[in-house]
């Protein structure tokens, strides 16, 4: 049994704004095992990226982690000083950003930008050692070595995204967060990048946190998954089980609103209304106002709490059988 590399417990994070505190991450707990890939899915604004940024503690200045713990490989990350964090970032946990197009400094060559990250963490390496390292990274992600001496604008979108993956791997992290790495890309390129990520993960034994709004991609990429809604995890479990036996009304809706090219063509369900404002504290089930499956047995005022429905598969109390 492999051990947990990353354990997040009761993480709360909010943004302080003039209109009030925006509670972007509410009581989020999950753990990621060695070599496992964990998916985080939900609509825009549900807090997926806020979770990712909290893990790296790269949030905006007005964001505060109010409580909770993030333990990476035995080390508590919450409360570390900036200089301590700089050592952990990239070395222990790194991120593949969403917009490959904007992730690069346009006036510095790709190779130099990756070299900068390596130099920061391995100051004693010689220049040649670093060059060798970058060449090896490029081989892993399927880029030609000549791309080291190119500027970002000379690369296509897919190549830039490959280079971003190389950058994320540059300091041999244990956990890599992929925050919608393929949303800006074409389907065929997306397919190539997904395969590349899978290959790299197997090759290096990485733990992967895959964030996406596309449930089809989550189905292909992950072993475990969590569904987020309005800052909270409403369902979490093995991907196979969540897909074959979804419990939460929101998960069911996500599954039934995704068109597919295989199988019978079926009527898709749509979701009306909008996610709640995260400024107001909502007691109980945050999905209740939009929930299409509400019935008399529902008690949306119950405080949110994940209940185990089958081994390893947890769902919010409002949609669990024992409500």
């Amino acid at each position: 049994m492999s051990k947990d590399v990353l354990v997040v417990k009761n993480l709360n994070m909010h943004y302080e704004t003039l209109a009030g505190d925006v509670h972007a991450v509410k009581n989020v707990s999950f753990s990621v095992k060695e070599g496992e890939s964990f998916g985080l899915v939900g609509e825009s604004g549900c807090g997926k990226t806020s979770v990712a940024m909290s893990l790296l503690q790269l949030q905006a200045d007005n964001a505060k982690i109010s409580s909770g713990s993030i333990v990476l490989d035995g080390q508590e990350m919450v409360g570390l000083t900036e200089s301590e964090l700089r050592k952990v970032r990239w070395d222990g946990i790194s991120i593949v950003f969403q917009g490959a197009m904007n992730a690069w400094n346009p006036v510095v060559k790709i190779g130099e930008q990756i070299r900068e990250a390596i130099r920061e963490h391995y100051p004693n390496n010689s220049k040649d050692e670093n060059t060798e390292k970058i060449k090896k990274l490029f081989d892993i992600v399927g880029l030609d070595h000549s791309n080291m001496n190119r500027f970002p604008h000379e690369l296509s979108g897919g190549m830039k995204q490959r280079a971003v993956i190389a950058l994320a791997l540059s300091c041999d992290p244990k956990v890599v967060i992929a925050d919608e790495p393929t949303t800006a890309l074409d389907v065929v390129i997306q397919d190539q990048i997904l395969k590349e990520i899978k290959k790299v993960q197997d090759l290096l034994g990485l733990s992967l946190i895959y964030i996406s709004h596309d449930i089809a991609v989550i189905a292909e990429m992950t072993d475990q998954m969590a569904v987020m809604y309005a800052g909270s995890i409403v369902e979490i479990g093995p991907t196979d089980q969540v897909f074959s036996n979804p419990k939460h009304a929101y998960t069911k809706l996500l599954l039934e609103s995704t068109p597919s090219v295989v199988g019978e063509k079926k009527k898709l369900r749509s979701l009306d209304g909008e996610p709640p404002s995260l400024i107001d504290e909502v007691a109980g089930c945050s999905f209740a106002p939009r929930c299409p499956d509400r019935d008399t047995s529902c008690n949306p005022t119950l405080d949110m709490e994940l209940i185990e429905s089958s081994s390893g598969h947890f769902v919010d109390i409002c949609c669990s059988e024992g409500k």
Partner: protein, 317 residues
């Protein structure tokens, strides 16, 4: 005999690209290269392909936003019930033609004027085409807002685009398009910027409106799963050419052209148990074959299913 809303024959759109010292090196990019298709009244055609394959250029040429280089575009005339060649239309007829052909753009955040109210935005095409009295126009705006689900319309009319969510903005785009009661609407990835849950409600709205108002869509997308939901037929485009065109289900079940196969094999399936079929495609080789055989020869392989053969039937398929 079913009438077509639009017939396109050998449409070409070339762009001249200048480069080098004093722009002396001239080359031609064939963005749309000899494509033909037709859409029956009330039916929808999906145009799928990779970014940069010429989908949007095709759309813009059809809407006369960019003049075409060559080819013939015929459009159904609602008054005479005949097909009009758009090259033979004079100014007044062209204006009428434009009433019947409208476009919905990809990005609802950029395609609405931020300094206009929703009412102004939807009123503009009515004013340009001088339809009805001022009161009639206002009534039309209210009616169309109700149709697209922005109710009560009085609440939305004085608002500005920034006060609306992405899904609501796209509904305004649709309202602006349909207030002209067009016969043919070109939709350029209208849902790719929206969230999954909202995407379906916009797609359902468009399908219902197509049925009620008898509108045909040319639906441009790179996502075959979306095209399947929206369209009767699908045309697959590669490097400016249509390489395969067939009924939606037929195309998904029996793809013939290697590019179509590659495209279908690259769509993720929302089922962890499902194993996608791997299909590798040598783009350079396919590109070379197509370059060496510029004649497009669409062959019917039965069941209204056409493929481009590139004259090398055996090695390709």
């Amino acid at each position: 005999m079913n009438k077509n809303v639009i017939e396109v024959k050998n449409l070409e759109k070339y762009f001249e690209v200048n480069s080098g010292f004093l722009n002396r090196n001239k080359s031609i990019v064939k963005a749309v290269d000899n494509i033909s298709f037709e859409i029956p009244l009330g039916e929808s055609l999906g145009l799928v392909g990779q970014s940069g394959c010429g989908k949007t250029t095709t759309a813009r040429s059809l809407c006369l936003l960019d003049p075409k280089t060559n080819g013939e575009v015929k459009f159904y005339n609602t008054e005479t019930k005949e097909m009009d060649d758009i090259d033979n239309l004079d100014e007044t007829d062209l204006k009428k033609f434009r009433r019947n052909i409208q476009m919905i753009f990809q990005d609802p955040y950029e395609s609405l004027n931020p300094r206009w109210t929703i009412k102004d935005i939807i009123l503009e095409p009515l004013n340009i085409h001088n339809i009805g009295s001022l009161n009639d126009r206002e009534e039309a705006v209210k009616e169309i807002l109700t149709t697209v689900g922005l109710t009560p319309p009085e609440n939305y009319m004085p608002r500005y685009p920034h006060e609306l969510s992405g899904g609501q903005r796209q509904r305004v785009s649709i309202a602006r398009t349909l207030v002209m009661k067009p016969k043919f609407v070109v939709c350029d990835e209208p849902t790719s910027m929206l969230d999954v849950s909202i995407r379906i409600s916009i797609m359902d709205l468009m399908l219902n409106l197509a049925k009620d108002l008898e509108v045909s869509y040319l639906y441009i997308t790179h996502d075959l799963a979306v095209a399947r939901y929206m369209c009767n037929r699908i045309a697959v485009m590669f490097n400016g050419k249509i390489v395969e065109i067939a009924e939606t289900e037929e195309l998904l079940r029996n793809p013939v052209h290697p590019y179509t196969k590659r495209l279908i094999s690259s769509i993720p399936v929302p089922d962890p148990q499902y194993q996608r079929q791997e299909y590798e495609l040598n783009y350079d080789e396919l590109d070379k074959i197509i370059k060496n055989n510029p004649d497009v020869d669409m062959v019917d392989i039965g069941g209204n299913h056409f493929i481009a053969t590139h004259n090398v039937k055996d090695s390709l398929y």
